[in-house]
Symmetry: none
Subunit: 294 residues, 2 copies
Amino acid sequence: MFTFDQLAGFIAVAEELHFGRAAERLNMTQPPLSRQIQKLEKIIGAELLERDNRRVELTSAGETFLEEARRLMALAERAPVTARRIASGRSGVLRIGFTAASGFSILGPLLEEISGIMPDVDIDLQELVTREQLNGLLTGELDLGFARPPFDSETFDSHLLYRESMVLAVPSSHPLTLLGRDLTAEDFKDEPLIMHSPTQARYFYDLVVRMLPIQHANVVHTVSQILTMVSLVAAKRGLAFVPHSATLLGIKGVEFLPLEAGREEQVELHALWNRRITNPALARLLRDLEFAME
Amino acid sequence: MFTFDQLAGFIAVAEELHFGRAAERLNMTQPPLSRQIQKLEKIIGAELLERDNRRVELTSAGETFLEEARRLMALAERAPVTARRIASGRSGVLRIGFTAASGFSILGPLLEEISGIMPDVDIDLQELVTREQLNGLLTGELDLGFARPPFDSETFDSHLLYRESMVLAVPSSHPLTLLGRDLTAEDFKDEPLIMHSPTQARYFYDLVVRMLPIQHANVVHTVSQILTMVSLVAAKRGLAFVPHSATLLGIKGVEFLPLEAGREEQVELHALWNRRITNPALARLLRDLEFAME
DNA sequence: CGTCATTACGGAATGCGTAATGATA
DNA sequence: TATCATTACGCATTCCGTAATGACG
């Protein structure tokens, strides 16, 4: 195989059509340049330059090889630049997972901020429940997640984005909407309830159970996504405990009422990522957003 | 500047993710390979591989540099070949891609014409679906393609070779062959269908869907090549919509029946090429064949 | 005889392979 | 202790620069 020096030498001679000037341009003397070209021609297996001792000319093979050589050199010069850009986090891909609920609150502004900070980074978005996000972060399919506790703080690092209170989602026409005060467990002890799945949405489940005495006999559905819950409430299948940001989902026929117990027990949304950061774009983002990294 | 040896070394390690096996593949020992990579990384100015003493992994910079490295190697290997061909008097190579269907209609006469015009040019033929052809034309692996729309007219220039109607391929013994008139959708509404792949053969798929009301429940196979379709028809797996030139495939046990809707919706075959013409043989061919070039 | 490419020759640098080292599970 | 990447060292090769040669107007 030929070398890049040989290519550069050939390009210089092809452009100057003069070994002396070409050598000067390359900061070397004629003899090695001459040998480079000979060697290159031998490797190629064809004459690239026709030279009697008075003048130098390109052969037709040389003309087309010149184009290829230029393309090779251009590619070879560009490749390290892009590699460096990616290593420094200035370009590349960032794969971000988010929960449906977070999509309606924090995601928009945050994406805007990200694309302001790192305009050359492509962002790949996926809607995933917390557990899928943790999985993706573990396997490296995801760089960053917007999810809720619990998660293993040994493998994941995180940054608290916000806390919000839990509210009660009820159908618009429901009598409870007329109460005009914070609700207590007493107020809906006989109402059908749509609960979180204790396995798929453990965070919400545990929190609600801790917050209020739940009549499990009243539970008519067990689901894992906030959006599904609110849709079921709109369909008058029951009441549901949802984070305040669910009000942003914009589903008709549902109202959200404050809970007395919800003032203290708040749910958290975290940005989280694998401590083993492999994507420089992520490292840069965390630094620029000033998310804690200990 | 880095060397091709370093690139080859990096590619081998990136593919094996193991210095020992990579070195074996390159017929060398580990230590120089290790040094090559270190040196390459130093030249690039970025880490390409992350390695603790137990495993080797690509960094994100390494991943994209791997692609560039492969492209460089491919280009470097091809360049001398074309130069040699030109030098040996055969004034060049034309690499032509064609679809299986076009192979049985236009390809033969066209090749004859080409070799009449430019007997000194070697012709390199490859059967490829349209998408692969576009790809090849982009990377420069192909000079000319015979393919069907759609393609980006900013990067590609083209010349319409012919239009033809769509016909229905049916097994020879099929009752529909006795009808003796143009068929309508009604005639085969309960027949099993072999359809084009909506991704691999989008042009045909879209056209058929536009042309006829398709019962998607009747679709028993989804394939990307006309030849495969006709073979499946011969095997009595169903009926298929194919361009008229498929009659030239000469497959036994298949008949081709006219479609009423096919008289209007016609499929096109184009000769197309990258506007950035680098192969002089292609330029000459296009001029001599009087294909429009604006 | 002046110009310019090529060959001759000596020294420096590069890069391989073998052997030794270091780190990790 | 076994595995696997890295460093240490000696030797062959490569490639530069200077000097000499050759070819052509």
